[in-house]
Amino acid sequence: MAAEEMTTIHEAAEKLAQREISSVELTRAHLERIDKLEERVKSFITVTSELALKQAEQADQRIAAGEAGPLTGIPMQMKDVISTKGVTTTCASRMLENYVPVYDATVAERLLLQGAVLLGKGNMDEYAMGSSCENSAFFPTRNPWDLERVPGGSSGGGAAAVAAGEAVYALGSDTGGSVRQPASLCGVVGLKPTYGMVSRYGLVAYASSLDQIGPITRDVTDCALVLNAIVGHDPKDSTSLRQPAVDYRLSLEEYAVSSPLAKGGAQGGPFRLGVPEEYFVDGMQDGVRESVQAAIKTLEGLGAWVEPVSLPTTRYALACYYIIAPSECSANLARYDGVKYGFSYQDTHNMWEAMERTRAGGFGPEVKRRVILGAYALSAGYYDAYYLKAQQARTLIRRDFDRVFEQVDALVTPTSPVVAFRLGEKIDDPVEMYLIDVCTVPANIAGLPGISVPCGFSEGLPVGMQIVGPHLSEQRLLNIAYAYEQATQWHTERPTL
């Protein structure tokens, strides 16, 4: 099977089970594809060819022994913010350029236990701070649909690799939209689970109350399969939820019938979908608006009951996010002192100078900007006006969602107000860049799950629809997304490379 065929996990797993292909063949095909495309796409920081082939051999043995799981032998990419034992984990930062973790993140451990094949580590905005992948200290990743454009961010490497056929799926992390927005801009599926569903142990911290790991896949079934593998309580993460195990894939097939959304809503009747007017912001591109509105019509045609709803606190979400996230970041990144690991300025005897210069040399401009902004928001005299105010706004935003989820089962919105933009177009203007996150940050602020699915094209570039639900409604979101996917062909479109 050639990587160009851009198989899904479930198709590949079937071929592996039938012995039509081996994991070694599948892995080799992807490594060849990476070899061929990386010069142009640049979605990997590290390619782990030898490790991948070794893992593929082991996977083939497991398959032969009849001990394969749904992800056994499937080649994937992991964002370079997720710790992988023995494999450099850089966070796309000079600070960690040579850092080799001594333990696996819980998600890495879980995937490897299932026989996943790690192709390498995905490019990203430095420390996951950014919306375009241009803040990588090493190189920007390019959008496979148009190499002059960004793939989105911060998990841009993962979305680009999946869209380009370099990996069957990827793991990203989402603090303000960093899985959903690049998925949208690259025409693939991306899910941010409910806060606490997936362990953050081994995920290098950016903003701890917002960070959550999620899958980037070619379709909704694959999303469910990866979610199955990574969720679950972890005693190593104090914010990890205790939820009974659910097979997210199991119920999807029920939504492959006609009018699948006419029943099964939370009230027993049709799915009730709310369309919040506040998400159709000024400055949204017409092509995005039209694609999402057409998708909403499709959902209605599938039996869903669609109604307009209002979330008046939406206009405060960006300010709330861009105070809370940098504040948490300024605390989290204080650990980089040049002593235990990472870049270290040694050319002085003064401890403070060493620390100050370590950070000056190790961090890029966006990271410095957020550390300074966060330290300011937390500093004496400004704490109440910024950090406390933002945390109170966070309560009001949550209450707004609580109220609207009494009315509807889920919300349908655009994922990003714009399609992929040109490299360099917004990088010098943080205010402009931060506006891109307007539709995605509210879910992080409220800890809600959200999924982005391809829903059309504008100017030849993919558009994504976001579906957001109450806490722990992943199954519901996947069901709605699956029903939509079955009725449309967008997820089968592939870029020409």
Binding site: V100, T194, Y316, K340, T348, R359, I372
Partner: protein
């Protein structure tokens, strides 16, 4: 709300990160612009609204105090920029 140069320098000192004069200039402008945007929050009446630290209700968790293998010191020190024997070497903390 605009930020003075001296404030950026003061915050950089508190955050222990040295900035070039060009960075101070750049951040002074950009952060001032962002603070301006944040003023939108002043529209919100937050009287008696409790702050949210985490969006999902969490409880403090305790685990049993079982002994487990810890990380191997040799492995850990391999990432250290300036190790000495089994130790991380740090700059003098107390002035002579």
């Amino acid at each position: 709300m605009s930020l003075e140069h001296a404030q950026v320098e003061q915050i950089a000192l508190l955050a222990r990160i040295s900035l070039t004069p060009e960075e101070v200039e750049l951040f002074q402008g950009q952060i001032s612009q962002l603070l301006e945007q944040f003023q939108v929050l002043s529209e919100l009446d937050t009287t008696d609204v409790p702050p949210t630290g985490h969006a999902v209700d969490l409880q403090a968790v305790m685990r049993d105090d079982d002994d487990e293998d810890s990380l191997d010191p040799e492995d850990v020190l391999r990432n250290a920029p300036n190790p000495e024997g089994e130790y991380f070497r740090v700059k003098a903390v107390l002035e002579e």
